[in-house]
């Protein structure tokens, strides 16, 4: 028997997307470094992109690709602005740990 199937069902792609999304949430919750938290957000965006492409394949329409493209563009803009904010925060506070950046608390 073949160990690896040559083609997989569509649902596996969606399940992979869910797994990656949950991993992104886990990183968002558990990591203390602000840059890693940011990378977890990017991982979640990628997972959603995979869902878009998969449904686009299933429905035989190109719209999912367009949405995925827009998500990509917005993620690029968000990364640029977010990293600029991180630079500014580091310049002012000298730390990257999110526990120490709690001036908005209380």
């Amino acid at each position: 028997m073949p160990a690896l199937p040559a083609s997989v069902p569509i649902s596996w792609y969606l399940t992979l997307s869910a797994i990656l999304f949950v991993l992104g949430i886990a990183g968002f919750l558990f990591r203390r470094n602000i840059i890693t938290v940011f990378m977890s957000i990017e991982l979640m965006l990628n997972a959603v992109n995979l869902s878009f492409i998969t449904f686009s394949y299933k429905l035989k329409q190109v719209d999912g690709h367009i949405f995925s493209f827009f998500v990509m563009v917005v993620a690029a803009a968000e990364a640029a602005v977010g990293l600029a904010i991180i630079l500014t925060v580091f310049k002012n506070r000298q730390t990257l740990q999110i526990d120490e950046l709690s001036s908005l608390k209380n």
Partner: protein, 159 residues
């Protein structure tokens, strides 16, 4: 299947690694594997854009900032209640979504490479510049605003 395994392993590595550089390289692995999966699903343009924009530009930006800030290994912080409650809730979420997917999608419908051929640059471009022209132009304005915002945020204070 192989690429899915690569993506999951790299994703776990991203969450587990304590050094930001290791996490960033794991994220590059995830994005590369996802690009291969997009290609298998017929999205040639999106696969190329994924490699160029995500694995290229955004990750270079991340690595650049990590190097610039000299980010070291993160310290173990205090665990909040959200993290204790998070693990079972995340597992419940994953189980729920997987259950919904398994119920909603017929398991016999396999992905065949080459069955969906409308993901090339021609069809993407046609849809982008006809049906989705207004969102496309709005996106360009958004990028312009993001550039200006990044410059304003990251410049040195001039007194």
């Amino acid at each position: 299947m192989i690429f899915a395994a690569i993506a999951v392993v790299c994703g776990i590595n991203l969450v587990v690694q304590t050094h930001p550089i290791s996490s960033a390289l794991s994220l590059v692995g995830v994005m590369g594997a996802l690009a291969a999966l997009y290609l298998l699903l017929g999205g040639e343009f999106i696969a190329a854009a994924q490699l160029v924009v995500y694995a290229g530009a955004i990750m270079v930006l991340f690595v650049f900032v990590i190097m610039l800030l000299n980010a070291g290994t993160e310290s173990r912080g205090r665990r909040s209640w959200a993290q204790y409650a998070g693990v079972p809730l995340l597992l419940v979420l994953l189980g729920l979504v997987a259950c919904l997917i398994a119920r909603g999608m017929p398991a016999s419908e396999n992905v065949v490479f080459g069955q969906f051929t409308k993901g090339g640059p021609l069809d993407i471009g046609r849809a982008l510049f006809t049906t989705y022209l207004l969102p496309f132009e709005v996106t360009s304005v958004l990028i312009l605003i993001a550039i200006l915002g990044a410059i304003v945020l990251a410049r040195k204070e001039i007194d």
